[in-house]
């Protein structure tokens, strides 16, 4: 029997709010995070997609000026979420043994703004003007490194990079560190800040993005028959995960248990999901086994559900093959309908949602579901939040990414 792991702190900065409380309140109310972009570069480059879900609170409003200069935007957002989670866990004035503290943070793309701004500087002003901090700012492990430094974590600062599965994979890496007995506490999460014209143009050319330029608020519509692609989002989520023993010894408040998790890979196609959802099915089964949970224990799934025509169906197929008739008793939230798709941060923010759902016994809403796709007969939480009942239960958070990555985390109520 592996040791129990518990979640004692949460942090987030998202298109719905600058912290967990404002984000969660908005997620229960049903709030579209996508808006028309008001940057000169949208017009300048004649981008085919003119909207996205930017963070509600600019990091410069929260961080000091040197911090904003020395950290890429993605690290800035990760640091804001990490600080909130740390304080929320009541660790601000606690002397922790740094050698028993780890970091596991995720990103899909890393410091893309720094990389491309520096390239512009080199071309326009020459190599001398390229800032010396460029590489440590653009590297994908920039956030985990900076966070380990900020909190004195000396037991390893790992980085999950598996595209849109990264956020959940970072939690699973944290779980592995804790189960191996190498650490007592891990500050885990994911961050992304890639609303830049290059990724926007590239994702648009893949036909991956919604083109609903005239109505951004209605663009992210998972499971709806009129869904036409995902909406780019940015933000970060963070969770403090510790052994139950450690949490109890310091009298910490526990939101939920990180019961288990698993990653698999499709080995089917670099970008298209396996049409049968076989990789997702295996990840779900293995996550439940890892959590020592039965299918019937699951009451709620925060689905990957990006709102692409191709992606939403195989995820349903996977859930159907794992849960069978019990799927009728599982309520599903597709929160990307509100936040947009936070890429490498998606799984982290959605894990925060799943944990909050179990703690508050309320599943957040899916917006823009007007005509549910008959191929996806799920019990989708729409209109108003769903009461989850008071009994013990398991909530699932699934994330899938380009590269054929599947990552599923299982949380248990306390």
């Amino acid at each position: 029997m592996s040791k129990r792991l518990v979640i004692t702190g949460l942090g987030a900065t998202t298109p719905l709010g600058g912290d967990v409380k404002s984000t969660w309140d908005a997620a229960l109310a049903g709030t579209p995070g996508a808006k028309t972009l008001e940057h000169d570069w949208v017009e300048q480059y004649q981008l085919p997609v003119t909207f996205a879900a930017e963070v509600a609170v600019e990091p410069a409003e929260v961080l000091s000026r040197p911090e904003t200069r020395r950290m890429d935007r993605s690290t800035q957002l990760g640091m804001i979420a990490a600080r909130e989670a740390w304080a929320d866990a009541g660790l601000t004035d606690v002397e922790l043994d740094g050698e028993r503290l780890g970091v596991s943070f995720a990103t899909g793309i890393g410091g893309v703004w720094t990389l491309l701004d520096s390239w512009d500087t080199l071309r326009e002003k020459g190599p001398r003007r390229v800032l010396p901090m460029t590489v440590p700012m653009l590297m994908p492990n920039g956030a985990s490194g900076a966070i380990s430094l900020a909190f004195g974590a000396k037991a390893g600062a790992r980085t999950a990079v598996s595209a849109c599965a990264s956020g959940v994979e970072a939690l699973i890496m944290a779980m592995d560190m804790l189960r191996a007995g190498d650490v007592d506490v891990v500050l885990a999460g994911g961050t992304e800040a890639a609303i830049h014209p290059l990724p926007l143009a590239a994702f648009a050319n893949m036909q991956a993005l919604s083109r609903r330029n005239d109505d951004p608020a209605a663009a992210s519509r998972p499971y709806d028959v009129d869904r036409d692609g995902f909406v780019m989002g940015e933000g970060a989520g963070a969770l403090v995960i510790e052994t139950q023993e450690h949490a109890e010894a310091r009298g910490a408040t526990v939101y939920a248990e990180l019961a288990g998790g698993a990653v698999t890979s499709d080995a089917h196609h670099l970008t298209a999901p396996d049409p049968e959802g076989l990789g997702a099915t295996r990840a779900l089964r293995r996550a439940l086994a890892s959590a020592d949970a039965a299918e019937g224990d699951v009451t709620h799934v925060n689905a990957h559900a990006t709102s692409t025509p191709l992606g939403d169906v195989p995820e349903y197929t996977a859930m159907k093959s794992v849960f069978g008739s019990h799927l009728d008793s599982v309520c599903v939230s597709a929160t990307k309908s509100q936040t947009g798709h936070l890429l490498g941060a998606a799984g982290a923010v959605e894990s925060v949602f799943t944990v909050k759902a179990l703690a508050d016994r309320k599943a957040p809403v899916t917006i823009n579901l007007e005509n549910q796709d008959p191929q996806i007969p799920l019990d989708v939480v729409a209109g108003s939040p769903r009461e989850l009942g008071s009994g013990p239960q398991v909530g699932i958070c699934s994330s899938f990414g380009f590269g054929g990555h599947n990552a599923v985390a299982a949380f248990r109520s306390v």
Partner: protein
Amino acid sequence: MADKNAILAGLAEIVEEETGVETEEVQLDKSFTEDLDIDSISMMTIVVNAEEKFDVKIPDEEVKNLATVGDAVDYIANAAG
């Protein structure tokens, strides 16, 4: 000869921007490493920004000779002619 007070003020702004050290702290007798706690990467960033701001060249091999804020102000003043 460029106005050294203006150079000091401009340099102090660059230092504050990069490190958060308040402009009043950036005085001629202050050592970049000992007093202002500026590491080598920050120092290079300050140098690159100073080159742009004052339209001068500060070769890499000169940077190690700029121990104090006063050294840097003198160097920039001379280089700017």
